[in-house]
Symmetry: C2
Subunit: 636 residues, 2 copies
């Protein structure tokens, strides 16, 4: 079966082509569910008789009126399913995920515990096993779903913060318990093993569990118990988190929430393709070592929010290994793959390459660059080594094509569970402790959140068991999105070579995955950055529906989004090449940054539409140029 044919049935289709069949599926789900209700102790009989049901008429009248109001209001939403929407990180949701969510929502299980959700907690763990496999984690990993990438990133840093001081905790505990000292390696997983080792060794020596626990809580480095201030106070070493300049703002928020403070965030320079500069990382780590800082974590971004760039995780891992070999401390390596984690499906067994470049455009036959087609390409090397990171965040509700809310956090080692546990770590299973009984049910004790929808678990599960997370399944779609980004990038650049136009689009960089950022500028005259920014703001206004806009969604031919290349976020090593191509000075950049248009090519339908003669990406390019020319003309 060819990729396109397979893909055709995963989603409803831009014109709801698969809806007729899917409506029947949804209907069957509803009927099956309510039949289950009727069949549970049928001898109980009905509670609401015909008369009671009839008396609900006035309520149902109001209900239908308000529902019609809601359905009417919802139509002012964006048409995410249409290839005309090329703006934010949202497109179609897979039909299995909608069916899975909806079916389970009717039962409304709460995945905080097995006791409230015996079925869907298992589905959650099964689904996260599939995601962990994709990442490259083995059986000793552990993962669960979250409400989204922000909370998942919080949780990863929360764990990293505890692990950061764990070697000292282990030392304190061994001394307090009279156990021989053990030298643990610098790797985060070694620390986890060393912590588990204290409990094992104590048990062998017959030391009561309560005493081991006491030793844990008494350690001055037990941050869970004593808080940050006391732990930091002991050693006067500043804890820091290193992130690429391209990091999502949830990391600033996380450092605030976790009590580390935003100044603990150390940005690492990125290159002109918005990938972390590993040399700069090395330098920063040296700096931190020199001023006796503590590295809580180093974050690699796989698929940056604005640019879709993929950090060179492979080089970062190699750097960590080299530094440890030199006797430097190791560090927790966290991957924020909230957006790009699913890119890994492309490079997994079943890999079929990006295939023939898809080159037919209205502009003629062009050879497109498809950077991610090469196995030795940097992004592929990074993706293939995700399984060596300590934690990975991936959002099924982004490139997993699952409805909100669905984030996921996977840890390389399930030894993090005792650290997260909201009771004693390594609680003895056979203990008479009555609390143990209360807490032993399921995953609620090991996660940051509490109550959460089992429906999300079923959505992820059903979608991932049906569409394999490799090159024969989900990867087909991911590859198409990258090809589309390359094609759109190419169209933007080549348009002025074929057409007479007074403006040119300058892409921020080559697509790192499936996002393209760009700014228009007048082709000939030198123009100030202020004018360029104003021009692109005007263009943007024509590709969105503002709150106060007179235009309606139906009248809008295309949608793109926007972002800002901000000097507060990005240094010149990232911005310089682009500023040169844009023809503006570095001083101007430092003063105001660059307003950018941003196009996320997640929609699954561009290639198939093209087969039927609908060249959406060409049309979008032409429309952008047309509007840019119109907006540029008064100022020329």
């Amino acid at each position: 079966m060819s990729s396109k044919e397979e893909l055709s049935s995963w989603f409803a289709g831009p014109k709801a082509e698969n809806a007729e069949w899917f409506e029947r599926v949804l209907q069957r789900i509803v009927q099956d569910y309510y039949a289950w209700r009727r069949n549970y102790f049928p001898e109980d009989g009905v509670v609401l008789d015909s008369e009671a049901r009839r008396s609900g008429e006035p309520f149902r009248d109001r209900f239908e009126d308000r529902l019609m109001e809601l359905l009417g209001r919802l139509k002012a939403d964006f048409p995410f399913q249409s290839p005309r929407y090329a703006a934010h990180m949202v497109a179609e949701q897979s039909l299995p995920s909608i069916a899975g969510y909806f079916a389970t929502m009717l039962y409304n299980p709460n995945n905080v515990s097995r006791e409230a959700a015996p079925v869907t907690v298992r589905l959650e763990l099964e689904a996260c096993r599939l995601i962990g496999d994709m990442v490259g984690f083995d059986e000793s990993g552990w993962g669960h779903l979250t409400g989204g990438g922000t909370i998942a990133n919080f949780e990863a840093l929360w764990v990293a913060r505890t692990v950061c001081y764990l070697a000292d905790v282990v030392g304190d505990m061994r001394r307090a318990l009279g156990l021989p000292e053990v030298v643990s390696g610098g790797w985060p997983t070694d620390r986890l093993t060393a912590f588990a080792g204290v409990f094992e060794d104590a048990q062998c020596k017959g030391i009561p569990f309560e005493r081991v626990l006491q030793a844990y809580h008494d350690s001055s480095y037990c941050i869970v118990e004593h808080g940050l201030a006391r732990v930091i106070g002991i050693e006067d070493r500043e804890p820091v988190v290193l992130v690429p300049e391209s990091h999502h703002y949830c990391f600033d928020k996380a450092l605030d929430v976790l009590g580390l403070g935003r100044r603990a965030l150390v940005p690492v320079a990125v290159d002109a393709d918005f990938r972390m500069d590993v040399k700069d990382l090395d330098r920063q780590l040296d700096d931190i070592a020199q001023r006796s800082g503590r590295v809580v974590a180093v974050v690699a971004v796989v698929g940056s929010t604005e640019e879709g760039a993929i950090d060179p995780l492979d080089e970062m891992l190699d750097l960590r290994a080299r530094r440890i070999a030199k006797g430097e401390p190791g560090f927790w390596l966290h991957v924020d793959g909230a957006y790009g984690g699913y890119l890994r499906t492309m490079t997994r067994p079943g890999r079929v390459g990006l295939g023939e470049p898809h080159t037919r455009t209205r502009l003629g036959e062009e050879v497109l660059t498809l950077p991610l087609d090469l196995p030795e390409h940097g992004a592929c090397r990074a993706l293939e080594r995700m399984g060596e990171a300590d934690s990975v965040v991936i959002d099924p509700h982004k490139l997993g094509y699952i409805p909100y809310p669905a984030g996921a956090i996977c840890f390389r080692s399930n030894l993090v569970k005792p650290l997260l546990r909201q009771e004693a770590p390594y609680l003895e299973e056979q203990t008479a402790d009555p609390d143990a009984e209360k807490r032993s049910q399921g995953i609620g004790m090991y996660i940051m959140e509490g109550s959460k929808p089992g429906a999300a678990a079923a959505a992820v599960w059903l979608s991932h068991v049906l569409i394999p997370l490799d090159g024969t399944g989900h990867g087909i779609l991911i590859r198409q999105t990258i090809r589309n980004a390359c094609e759109f990038h190419s169209l933007l650049v080549q348009y002025p070579k074929h057409m007479s136009t007074s403006v040119v689009a300058v892409p921020l960089c080559s697509p790192g995955s499936n996002i393209v950022c760009y700014a228009f500028k007048p082709a000939k005259s030198a123009t100030s950055l202020s004018e360029i920014n104003a021009l692109n703001r005007r263009i943007y206004d024509r590709f969105t529906i503002g709150e106060t806009s007179e235009r309606r969604v139906y009248d809008q031919k295309f949608f793109v989004s926007r972002t800002v290349l901000s000097p507060r976020q990005y240094g010149l090593s990232a911005a310089r090449r682009f500023l040169e191509e844009l023809g503006v000075t570095e001083e101007a950049y430092e003063q105001q940054g660059v307003f950018l248009l941003r196009t996320v090519l997640m929609n699954p339908w561009y290639e198939q539409a093209k087969d039927r003669g609908a060249y959406f990406l060409s049309e979008l390019t032409e429309e952008l140029y047309r509007c840019a020319e119109e907006e540029a003309s008064p100022s020329i």
Copy 2:
């Protein structure tokens, strides 16, 4: 229209009595949605033609098979809709909330920003306005939805932690900017006003915004920027959070996450009805003042997770006022009403009282105690003053009868928004700052989470506009749940007076709302706590489906849940009366705690079932006694 008639149409009904109509509603939603897809740029034509659709046959075959598997597995879930399920905090979901969620899920808006969800961000704010009104907050309040109560409580404490040091921040800023000192009151809202005042005064004096901002970030008390350790290091004052012994474990988790450490949690004693002992709170506050501690927040629990108890918020507010009048510092008063917040609907205009006690039982006509029927009852006084708290957490997915995920956090003052903002507080609206543009869209910058489902907002909105949050609407249902708890409590106690039985049920306390906890013991012989615990564990096993149990859901006549009265959590002021009634020693309690059966009476159908002759609560009582006798007999 009488209450019962109204209620009949809110839910599907235990035997899906309203399903036929509701299936049509759901079908209409689906058809309406897909028709919208077809009508968006109809001239684009279909992308998936008949041939492409046909080629999806193999995928659809697998899809249907897997879906059947899922539907089969889901049937092992608990029948939350049945009056036979009286275990955890979950029952029916209102039909409007299911329709609202499902309809919106198809559009899949992301409420992180207006740009991704122009319609549903507005619905979220409208829904939270309704919840804020119910709480008693006015127009100057601010609230939003969260994934659940845990994250909502985190957010409240996160804000409280910042506000705790805000008076010092304001002092630092005024000195740095050369502004005259202003004495601010001890109330948290005064601190927020004082903070806003710095920005206003600076603007009047023509001080550039950037300098004010710099002064904010430079203040050594700016915890957002410098982190906890530095701020605490300056003054060596230990920050603490006071919670009743009955607090949910998410508060321990929150103190860990926020970097305060679990030792910062100061438990306040509760009385024999599991309500905070305000005298003990007063003493603890004195203690903390004496050792120069900093009170980050005092938490009142409205509807404790295990007992459904309501803290005397009114007395706590009075205590705060008295202490401030005496020159003591004020404190942030946070209400965790995740479970019980909706009890407020009972006491709002439209209040019709609990009505005639519903007394017909199989045991004959009994007069039931209905404590919450009295306006002067402690719980009512507490509920009526929720609007004076600084923040209130309420979970629509608990007593709001909305599907997961739906939590809510409401603040009394929207002046918290600048503190939460992930950019400069009081960012000038007309600034040329390009970042401002990027960040100004919607609520994502003011909340702890990131991406979140707009569908949840629509679910809460549609349900709350249709079922008013007062005594004429939602309160009718809430009152019934309390009456049911009182009735069940009464049945448990009175059964041995009418029937010959070798066991008696000892309730933990009178129902504080709609939860009943109890333990069985042999009626005559003195029995050790170990034996009593073992007996109740055996009884529990007969009212649930274990993971390894041979019993199937269909064979299970009734479900109850369990909890543990643990000496680690509860001191003797809470436990003593119950221990006496149970006939066990305090020493035994200190050693092992008491295993309890727990019944949450959230199901809406008990009264109407009784009208048709189905006495579920009587049956449950009889079944409990029957099983208890059987389990007790071998040990006698």
